[in-house]
């Protein structure tokens, strides 16, 4: 019997598989299909202080081995998430949930996190400083070490829950941003968010997405994620949640060898709603195939020697 458990900031997960924010809503669409308590945890839809409709459509485009999205952080706002979504979520998910938070100012990040700090069901805060699809916010905080540190400090000051800063791959040196977050008190980092991308419609001769640019995700970005997790693991000593195109149990193990303590599954949930469940089911078999008894022991294993 293999051991798939991992620990994130003192909370033990049955397995390292966490559906990524924005690909799993607040859980209900998937809870209708399978018992989502098989998940290690999940990161709910990116939540902001005020309700947001997001970007105009089209918001989605096809890419080779992946997809672009420019949803633009559509969400009902943190107050409604607390009053409506979390009570509904408690009925279908008994484990701690990861609260994904976005903002447009340091104050807004702190206000939203302070409200979520009071929620018992929230196990961790995942602070998105890397959304490529909104203007005047999101990624601008994640592209500069001092801005990233400022958000980290402001959030840490208002919560006792572990804080994971979600980082952008659209930077020259992701390890420097991760280090700045660690120095500012972050309990961990999540990476990678989507890669800034564009498709052009040949018939209209215009960008396909109404937002013009969008974030690339899916298997196309997986090797980028592996490289960045590997680099960040060398730069920081806080835990890393790895993500970016994960589609199989083998991908989970690869990202963990690169240095991830847990792994998020994103785009795969959208093309196959059972993807996260099936990866979890498959994990023991693949662990046995590679002679792994205790999954947590392989974290960062690719760095040895």
């Amino acid at each position: 019997m293999v051991d798939t458990r991992v620990t994130l900031s003192g909370i033990t997960l049955d397995n390292p598989v966490i559906p990524a924010s924005g690909t799993f809503g607040y859980g209900h669409e998937f809870a209708e299909l399978y018992d989502i308590n098989c998940l290690g945890a999940f990161s709910f839809k990116g939540t902001t202080r005020a309700p947001r409709f997001g970007n105009p459509t089209p918001r989605i485009a096809e890419a080779p081995a992946g997809m672009l999205n420019a949803v633009g952080l559509q969400n009902p706002g943190v107050e409604k998430v607390i009053s409506e979504e979390l009570p509904k979520l408690r009925e279908v998910f008994r484990k701690p949930v990861m609260a994904n938070v976005s903002g447009f100012s340091v104050e807004e990040y702190a206000e939203t996190c302070a409200l979520l700090d009071k929620e018992e069901q929230v196990g961790w805060l995942e602070v998105n400083i890397s959304c490529p699809n909104v203007h005047g916010g999101g990624m601008s905080f994640g592209a500069d070490p001092s801005a990233a540190a400022e958000v980290t400090k402001a959030v840490k000051a208002v919560t006792r829950k572990p804080v994971f800063m979600k980082l952008s791959p659209n930077v020259t040196d992701i390890a420097a941003i991760a280090k700045a977050c660690e120095d500012a008190g972050a309990d961990g980092v999540s990476l990678i968010n989507t890669l800034l991308a564009m498709r052009i419609d040949l018939k209209r001769r215009k960008p396909l997405l109404a937002n013009r640019t969008g974030g690339l995700s899916g298997p196309a970005v997986f090797p980028v994620a592996v490289r960045m997790v590997y680099q960040v693991y060398e730069a920081v000593s806080i835990p890393i949640i790895g993500m970016g195109g994960v589609s199989s149990a083998e991908d989970v193990i690869e990202l963990m060898l690169a240095g991830a303590s847990a792994v998020e599954v994103g785009a795969a949930n959208l093309t196959d709603p059972f993807a996260a469940r099936d990866i979890i089911k498959d994990l023991p078999r693949v662990m046995e195939q590679y002679g792994i008894d205790t999954l947590s022991e392989i974290i960062g294993g690719a760095h040895n020697g």
Binding site: G22, T23, F24, G25, E29, F30, E32, L33, K45, F53, G54, T57, P58, R59, I60, A61, E62, A63, P64, A65, G66, M67, N69, V71, Q74, G218, P219, A267, N269, L270, T271, D272, P273, F274
Partner: protein, 242 residues
Amino acid sequence: MKQGLYRIESNRPLTADVWELRLAGDTSPITAPGQFVNVRIDGLYLRRPISVCDWDGDGLTLIYKVVGRGTAALARMAPGGELDLLCGLGNGFDVSKCTQRTLVIGGGVGTPPMYGLAKALLRAGKTPAAVLGFNTRDEIFYETEFRALGIETTVTTVDGSAGIKGFVTGALPEDYGYYCACGPEPMLKAVYRAARTSGLLSFEERMGCGFGACMGCSCETRYGNKRICRDGPVLEKEEIIW
């Protein structure tokens, strides 16, 4: 919604670029006409949403227009092959809202779901009438099938090469109590403005997941934000913001 494998029974062209695909498999997830399936296609990442034209206990019929790589790949699929579908997506048309004489209005490749709707209305003891709009004679499909249902069927073509010349809005009968429409957005908008009664309109949008998780196909309505894939594709006339 259910995920399943469906066997291709036939896949044939109806016009130069519109194809009819008959699939055998579990249709229990389909609960209303106007719902759709999301089809996995080898070599493409995102599934492709296609409306259900008709279904029974053994399988379903999809009609699609070849507009890009996904639908072109679908047109190359041969009988005997299998397709992975998410089946029974979206709300579909609520037949209970339709009056005794309801117009079913289809434009181009928006026509297929209106066929399943017309059959459902007949099953419910109602007497629908169909108005089907196409650009030109060569693009007409399923006129015979609609007529075979025994319902009043009017065809329009923009160039007048068959049926009544012009758009569907120029051929709406006088006596109807409700309408249901599916077609390109300019047609829906014209019907919305021309129709005297309340109605249901089915919309198209580029989708990510097709089952409500990704917020890729959201729209604003008078009843709040809706996901075309999950809360639609059918919206009530009263909630649409134009």
